[in-house]
């Protein structure tokens, strides 16, 4: 997934207050499910297209980040197409029938999935790990009263995100080293392939622990002791664009709600 793959740039979406950005993204992902017909879904897509345009992320990069989920999307499409039977039969092969209802359900489901993935990718591309953590800590803070460790959660998230690219690079290095020793990761049946992964996984885990230990030492030696008494370098301040995004989302939501009441 694109989380942790921050793409540094200067765009309205990059500059957004992360708290607002996360909130808008999460609400948007929920709101998509209100869209039941073509008009609603198109509106949701227009909103997303606007966000993509405002993100300054090259389309190629966005498309590449979606590659890993293509199989999943295709699978969803086929399952919906085959198992939902309603409306006219368009095509039949023995007991297998493709119906207009199935086709539209499949199309809707895949489009929804697509919007979910694109919005997550956009969030990941335009929000640095630090911002992401800040953006999560803010909305969680009120829940500290009920025992939610907001600061710890956000610190954990930011560390995890920070380490994804490091571990990916580490994995590449180890794969290369074992390949040079004759390891084969590309051929063989699934079982031998699973087996082939051990020489990569073991060193990778060891290196993850090594990093964790180093980081813990580094944090402790700089007197990190959790949230108490910590101040921020950057205090978040919502700007006009943040409220604009919220307004756009509110309009989209009410449009979708209204559309649902229209028979």
């Amino acid at each position: 997934m694109a989380l942790g793959q921050y793409h540094k740039a200067d765009s309205p979406l990059h500059r957004m207050d992360p708290r607002f950005k996360i909130l808008v993204a999460v609400v948007y992902m929920l709101v998509i499910f209100l869209a039941r017909e073509l008009v609603g879904l198109s509106l949701a897509l227009v909103f997303l297209a606007g966000a993509v345009a405002a993100s300054g992320i090259p389309l190629g990069l966005l498309a590449r980040s979606l590659r890993p989920v293509i199989a999943f999307v295709v699978f969803t499409f086929i399952v919906n197409l085959v198992f939902i039977t309603s409306g006219d039969t368009l095509f039949a092969l023995g007991r297998l029938a493709i119906t207009s209802g199935g086709l539209s359900a499949a199309a809707f489901m895949t489009t929804r999935l697509f919007t979910l993935f694109v919005s997550t990718a956009l969030l990941g591309f335009t929000t640095s790990p630090v911002d992401l953590a800040d953006g999560i800590e803010g909305p969680l803070t009120p829940f500290e009263r009920f025992g939610v460790p907001a600061h710890e959660i956000s610190m954990m998230m930011s560390i995890a995100l920070r380490f994804i690219p490091i571990l990916v690079a580490e994995k590449d290095r180890i794969v290369r080293a074992q390949t040079a020793r004759g390891a084969d990761f590309e051929s063989g049946n699934p079982l031998t392939r699973m087996h082939a992964i051990i020489p990569v996984l073991t060193p990778l885990f060891l290196s993850a622990f090594r990093h964790a230990e180093d980081l813990a030492t580094a944090m402790e030696s700089r007197c990190y002791h959790g949230k108490e008494g910590r101040t921020r370098v950057k205090t978040l301040q919502p700007a006009l664009r943040d409220w604009a995004a919220v307004a756009a989302l509110a309009i989209l939501t009410s449009a979708l709600v209204v559309l649902r009441t229209v028979p």
Partner: protein, 288 residues
């Protein structure tokens, strides 16, 4: 001739096309049994060059030939795994098995050797790095010292019996004793006829081990020759941010003081010899 590079260029995909490529129009021949030292500032393309030679990266343009096989073909790059061993920086970080013997045996097993052949290869490789199978074979690689772990990792590479060994900063992060161990090991392997390519930031290591030195600068060849030839260009090397061996610096200081030791000495031994002969030149009369 084991390694031949002809106008090889490598540009990492997705990098700035206006900047110079990681390896830029490099031509080079490494002879059989040669010990080539590769030096250059950070980001000069040393690691990239080494990956090209090992067939782990394909050149963007130009030709890399190893033992007569053109590495442009995927099958040639795969076949190369047996002939070329590559030791990456911190090779001990790629150890994974429960015992030293099992880890060293990974390469031979992956290449499809029988259990018996594999065991022989392990025995051989461990003996070459001075870590006998009977003493260390059953131990966990993770309880060894840093220098020992590194030797085991090198054995893991040697176990596939390559005739070319490539090392990327093999001494990095070791204490002086560990460095000396690895240096002695490399010298021994080279004396047995192995072709060695070694990347290092330590000029003294390069001077004492290598037959020839390649200096990279921004992906291109800045200098290529014997250590004495290369390290004679002290001022130029300093300009591109590189040092020279202590012995060479000392020789330069001496000649600045008017004591001509006769050329550049890149190892302490050579310098000592030169100084000793200087003493005899001056004649016994001065000795008293």
């Amino acid at each position: 001739m084991p390694i031949v590079l002809e106008h090889v260029t490598l540009r990492y995909p997705g990098t700035d096309p206006t900047a110079h490529p990681a390896v830029d129009d490099l031509s080079l021949v490494v002879d059989d049994g040669e010990y080539l030292g590769v030096i250059g500032h950070t980001g000069s393309g040393k690691s990239t060059l080494v990956l090209l030679m090992a067939g782990l990266l394909a050149a963007t343009s130009g030709r890399v030939t190893v033992n007569g096989a053109d590495l442009a073909e995927r099958s040639a790059r795969r076949a190369l795994r047996r002939q070329v061993g590559i030791v990456f920086q911190y090779p001990e970080h790629q150890l994974f098995a429960d015992t030293v013997a099992e880890d060293v045996g990974f390469g031979p097993r992956a290449l499809g050797l029988t259990a018996r052949e594999a065991e022989r290869a392990v025995d051989d490789a461990l003996e070459r790095v001075d870590m006998e199978l009977c003493t260390y074979g059953h131990r966990s690689p993770f309880e060894l010292s840093g220098g020992q772990m590194r030797r085991v990792a090198i054995a893991g590479v040697m176990a596939t019996r390559p005739d070319i060994l490539i090392l990327d900063e093999p001494m990095a992060g070791l204490d002086p004793a560990g460095r000396a161990e690895i240096a002695a090991l490399l010298r021994r392997l080279h004396d047995r006829g192995l072709t060695v390519v070694m990347v290092s930031h330590d000029m003294d290591d390069i001077a004492s081990l290598a037959d020839r030195v390649l200096v990279l600068r921004d992906g291109g060849c800045f200098a290529h020759g014997t250590p004495a030839e290369v390290f004679a260009r002290q001022t130029e090397l300093r300009e591109i941010g590189l040092g020279v061996p202590h012995a060479a610096r000392f020789a330069a200081r001496l000649s600045a003081c008017g004591i001509d030791v006769g050329g550049t000495m890149s190892t302490p031994e050579a310098l000592a010899d030169a100084l000793a002969s200087l003493r005899t030149d001056l004649g016994p009369g001065r000795e008293a």
